[in-house]
Symmetry: C2
Subunit: 547 residues, 2 copies
């Protein structure tokens, strides 16, 4: 069960915590401070009595890390997933129970760090990589995308890096880049590490080491920031780590082998438009609007300016990756120059403003209380978004409706068609690590790292992404994040069908008659609305009282 | 008095008509049918008994033409302004009274045409030149701009061409092009004729000859089409010709000599953006919106879609010449790629939609009954205008706020400054022939050929054009229409000051306090609002009840 979801409350997890014998904690402490029964050295000898690690010999900080993550590493040392000449003999005598016990012990220790990053290493480029990545040139998502803006990680898949030992981080980046360490989820880290040069790796390591154990979140980069007052996080801030102590899992396993690896995104390729680099907007009133637009784009559901128009916990960036820059992920620069345009969807000419309003109406499931289910054309939100998108399109030729990389790539049908039941397996194997077993995304400490894919906080039945073909094309070419494994065409079709066979908020065009609404707006064979039974046995969309 | 205004009711004109002795008509008829007392041939001998001209010998149609125009030509033949070996001896014996009498006779004859254009000559390119001109490549305004969409002309300056003799039109184009005929207002026709090739001249002549004497107006090209229900034309359709019979004037004189002639506009120059050619919008729903936008742009105050948003008789094209294409006349392609942008005027980020709304609020003096003094963002009018402007910008680089030809050229100050009193003379000499002695523009037969420049039907005190510097730059580089004479810098400054020293609709930002409104919005030294007395002795803008 390499991808078991560990961040959400479940009665199994609660039971496990409640029934865990007190002796287990004692066992963990004993191993840490005195060594395991078999006789090897105490963990604290090398990792510090406070568990804060040792900078001089590149031994990592353990105190306060996620128990599941720690256990997975111990098993990997023991079973060969991580090839380390010092840790292998330490881990080899440990039973599974002892692995769990000592991991839980360190997870429960007060967070501590003995990191001493070298003062001569600049953290500048590291900070940029943490907050922004380098998606354009190297398909590198922001580190914070998975490790969270505060650097404290998420669940057992994405460890805390803040306050980690500088020399340890640097060594691990090297281990990933050279194939010595491979036991990360879906092989995400190896291609990322391989694309960093030594100066960047040093800067990153110094940046994280200098953050300490109680860091302030960095700006930007991730999909949702802050919890709006009307949203209940699925996992309360701070809860995740305790839960995961009882549900620690083994190694996630080697990179998936059922799809080709994209070695590079089209975005940085020849012939692909280059939007302006981040943080280069002018320092004037126009620049203010651009920056506001970018902030709204990234944090739509929680940004004070735009939150009122969002009825779920989605952001523009959730579908338009790299803050709207990424070719093949419906980049905004390609959209800007293609509007006004006639849209079949609403049978009228749409300005870019009306097109964006459509995103709010459907993808953001704007509350019915908003005028027209969207921000007004003259609202600060819509003006700022237009300013940002316009700026992204700087230099793009007006009227070019076919810029390479526009929209999502079309995925050819496969002989097997698409099947939600097959897709369920793909989802659990690949997608759940980020989006959750229940599809409700990942919240950590008030930050939404990955968006919900169905349910009340997802896009509604009118959003483009509810179409199986659209979602399949998007998933095939963009998921998982980063320059890692891609799904096969077949898996992309199946998992898109699975996701869109779940219930979600009502189509705002619903007129009270499911059959007629289906006929009017959901006739496509790539659309389950009104045609397939949902998990509750009723036809999808058959909830007149919704919204 | 070469530029005397003849299209508007005035008691002088009415008196002249009323007191004209019946004998004068008899005199005219006698000259026409029997020859003048001195003994030369009767006009009808060559021009036809119906006054419809003679195609075989290139003698023009006279019946139904404007009396003032006819009288001016007779004097020109008599006095040497037109050098014609046949007409000179005919005209030489005529007294001024006889000139007026025979001109009035022919003007009052039922319109007739003996034109027989050769069937092998295509009228296609002629029709395009009539409706659209070729402003882009050769600075040629549409023929219909001055001769009216129905080809029946305007006043004594712009003769009827519809139903005119083919061979006569062709001969006159040649005479203008070669300098043999020069007595047209401000030398407008010579540079136009010189830019036509023989095939075009033939096609034009055939087009007009084939129109007959009761033609249907051609589409497009001129500034206002049709009279909206809430607008009272300053001159009722059909009234103009009768009036002018009594106020016929002599030759307008040679081209003005106090300013250089622009031999070509910047628009067709190297480095100037080329918008799509007319009539090349796609044949789809987008194309429909583009065409609707173009029609609104050209006929704003009278178009059924946009009329409700216009409180005067202005059009977009009135300031943005060549349907928004012309470099140096605030071309729309340059504006499209420069928005959104921060505007000092309203201290906020403006999308192109809001920028256009500003034009309605001020330049079109939108009725207070409209929401926000402008079309709503989602209105068909604003969507269509955006579609049209977007299309005009096809290929223009997004974000380029400095495309060559954007806006109006800036005019450097002159040592003499600017003076409305000096400008009054310039106005009467140059501008009044089109815009009227009273600045109220030219209406003919329900069509507005030239827009009002002040008064209730002009732009209001908030429009950019009310600024003397803006108007001076516009006038210097764009007026009069066509590739003809330009004013000197000094005359442009002075006439801009004169025009903007007249009263016009209140600034919609007026808050009831003239001094404060002046301080807030009219502090510029190029702005007379609240600072100079108007023709009625009260400060300009001092009319709280206005609008």
């Amino acid at each position: 069960m390499p991808n078991e979801r560990v961040l959400q409350p479940s009665w199994l997890a609660l039971v496990a915590v409640l029934v865990m014998p007190a002796a287990a904690d004692d066992l963990g402490e004993r191993i840490a401070t005195q060594g395991p029964p078999g006789g090897t050295a105490a963990c604290a000898t090398c990792h510090g009595h406070n568990g804060g690690g040792d900078e001089g010999v590149a031994f990592p900080r353990l105190a306060g890390l996620n128990a599941g993550y720690l256990a997975r590493q111990l098993r990997a040392f023991r079973d060969g997933g991580r090839d380390n000449p010092i840790m292998r003999p330490m881990a080899q005598p440990l039973t599974d129970a002892e692995v769990v016990a000592v991991s839980a012990y360190y997870a429960a220790l007060p967070p501590a760090s003995n990191a001493k990053p070298p003062t001569e290493v600049s953290t500048t480029i590291g900070g940029v990589l943490v907050a922004e990545g380098d998606w354009f040139n190297r398909s590198l998502p922001a580190c914070a995308q998975c490790h969270a803006r505060d650097g404290l990680g998420a669940g057992d898949a994405f460890p805390a890096l803040a306050g980690q030992i500088y020399s340890y981080i640097l060594g691990q980046i090297d281990a990933w880049a050279t194939g010595k360490r491979i036991a990360d989820p879906h092989g995400l880290m190896s291609p990322i590490a391989a694309r960093l040069n030594l100066d960047e790796a040093k800067s990153l390591a110094a940046y994280y080491a200098a953050m300490g154990v109680a860091p302030a979140p960095v700006a930007g980069a991730t999909q949702g920031t802050g919890v709006p007052t009307d949203v209940t996080p699925l996992v309360q801030p701070g809860v995740g780590r305790a839960e995961t102590q009882a549900t620690a899992t083994g190694p996630v396993g080697p990179p998936l082998d059922h799809g080709p690896v994209d070695t590079g995104r089209p975005q940085g390729s020849a012939g692909i438009f280059h939007p302006p680099a981040r943080n280069t907007a002018p320092k004037d009133r126009m620049g203010e609007a651009i920056r506001l637009g970018e902030a709204i784009f990234i944090g739509t559901f929680s940004h004070p300016e735009s939150a009122r128009y969002v009825g779920n916990t989605q952001t523009c960036e959730g579908c338009h990756l790299d803050a709207g820059r990424l070719a093949g992920a419906a980049p905004m620069w390609a959209a800007w120059v293609a509007y006004p345009a006639f849209r079949t969807k609403n049978q009228r000419l749409n300005t870019i403003a009306e097109r964006i309003q459509g995103c709010f109406t459907y993808s953001m499931n704007a509350p019915a209380s908003t005028v027209g289910h969207a921000p007004e054309a003259e609202s600060d939100t819509l003006v700022a978004l237009q300013s940002y998108i316009y700026w992204l399109a700087t230099g793009a030729p007006t009227g070019d409706s076919g810029m390479p990389g526009r929209g999502y790539p079309t995925l050819d049908p496969t002989p097997q068609g698409f099947d939600p039941d097959r897709g369920a397996g793909v989802y659990q194997t690949v997608c759940a690590v980020c989006h959750g077993n229940d599809g409700q995304g990942t919240w950590v400490r008030g930050e939404l790292l990955f968006p919900p894919l169905w349910g009340a906080k997802s896009y509604n039945w009118g959003a483009g992404m509810h179409r199986i073909d659209t979602a399949a094309g998007y998933i095939r070419h963009n998921m998982p994040l980063g320059p890692a494994t891609r799904l096969s065409d077949q898996d992309a079709w199946d998992v898109a069908a699975f996701i869109n066979a779940q219930e979600r908020p009502q189509d705002p065009r619903f007129n009270g008659d499911l059959a007629e609404t289906t006929r009017l707006y959901h006739a496509s064979r790539y659309d389950y609305y009104g045609k397939r039974s949902g998990p509750d046995g009723r036809p999808l969309g058959d909830e007149p009282a919704k919204r």
